[in-house]
Symmetry: C2
Subunit: 259 residues, 2 copies
């Protein structure tokens, strides 16, 4: 088995709405001195995908409804931001002062519907939503990158999520194309040749965590990571694979509002 | 910023109780053609640490109590295994047919108290517990490896855990020495030089996920991964950093037994 190597791309400029992300990545590969080959994966931070897709909202244009205003009082958040969070979500799972955990319309559970409110335009009055459809964003980018390089590639769009039970954020997959989300180790024999019990590994999330490590969080100069040696090989994959259906989720329901 | 490279070590033999794991790893480094240097991290699968520490239990020696027998009926698990799970746990969080989620005595939440029941001795009557104290296991191994190589190293002991909300297991840290668990990005400026909001990244868990990817699950030939280029640098760390205190955990309490 060969090594897994993750290289952050240098030379990716500040991304603006309408930018051709594939062109930025091709430039970044060149600046970094990398040439992609069949089987490589490109991991892209959600933030630059959202920026290229122009997913900005100007908060003064948002009119918070009754429910948003009540939740904003409870969570001590901006009511306009809470309104957007509700619009981006299927339901609220937990609301306490300072924390709002929702099931995003894309199906995953995260804080604040993944909306970025950290000076996304050098101004506290702008926020940045997640991409409309991160699987589709990944597929488009993959198509462009494969056309430009003639290599068979995977593309993974990642974000950082907090977790139940453990502190700290970790990188997770929110969109993928050309690589599997889960790898099923059902029946792969162990060393003695006996079949193992069923084990499904969230390989796209493991790769997201690995890439997040080299991206860091604050340095927007490295929002794209080149991966060589992904051990599970390319194949079709999508976000939905990684989402636990509610019927199999023991930690989704229960109380919502707390003091 | 340089690349992060993860290389699975070849030549690690089947590990037996009392084995000198450091000697196995030194052998594996040699077989793989790697020489460690300051700042490298060695990631070790829990399973081989537990095996070296002789954490086997022979199920016929276990006498299930009343509570274990009731939980075994509900979860349809072996009552002797359930007795061991209870002995290794602080409390049960969820119990439904086929699933038993506990807060382990070490503080993290996982299924079956991390007890491995998959032919650990080529026999269904033996199981393997987690190391007694994985931080201490990591510290001992680090001390031995540093003495043998004269390099300053980090050592991370990992396991694979399921998660709330998402399908598939991911590698997580259960013991560490010589590297941080969390990296605090509080106040690191963004590109415009404005301070960011507080962000703590679970860098040890991200590294655990990355290493898990190259270890696979079934192939016991690669239970140790050599890491070069860990971007957060070495430092003191421990498991407790990564554990969300109950007061800050919105997804721990609630119902326990289900049908």
């Amino acid at each position: 088995m060969t090594a897994l190597t993750l290289t952050p791309l240098q030379g990716i400029p500040e991304v603006r709405p309408g930018d051709d992300l594939a062109a930025h990545i091709l430039h970044g590969l060149q600046v970094t001195g990398l040439r992609v080959q069949d089987g490589d994966v490109l991991v892209v931070a959600q933030k630059v995908v959202s920026k290229a897709e122009g997913r900005y909202v100007h908060l003064p244009t948002v009119r918070p409804g009754l429910r948003a205003r009540a939740l904003a009082r409870l969570t001590r958040k901006d009511p306009r931001l809470v309104e957007l969070i509700l619009q981006e979500s299927r339901r609220v799972l937990r609301a306490v002062p300072g924390v709002l955990i929702v099931e995003h319309r894309l199906g995953f559970v995260c804080a604040n519907a993944g909306i970025d409110h950290s000076n996304v335009k050098g101004d506290d009055e702008w926020v940045l939503l997640l991409p409309e459809n991160p699987d589709a964003s990944a597929a488009r980018l993959r198509e462009q990158m494969e056309a430009a390089t003639a290599a068979r590639l995977g593309v993974l769009v990642i974000d950082s999520h907090g977790r139940a039970w453990r502190l700290g954020t970790v990188g997770v997959a929110i969109g993928l194309s050309g690589l599997p989300g889960l790898a099923d180790l059902r029946g792969r024999p162990d060393r003695q040749g006996r079949p193992l019990q069923v084990t499904q590994v969230a390989v796209a999330d493991e790769l997201a965590a690995a890439a997040s490590l080299v991206m860091g969080q604050a340095d927007e100069g490295t929002p794209v990571v080149h991966v060589r040696g992904f051990p599970y090989g390319l194949g079709e994959g999508k976000l939905a694979e990684l989402l636990r259906p509610e019927a199999r989720d023991l930690f989704r329901g229960g109380w919502v509002y707390g003091g």
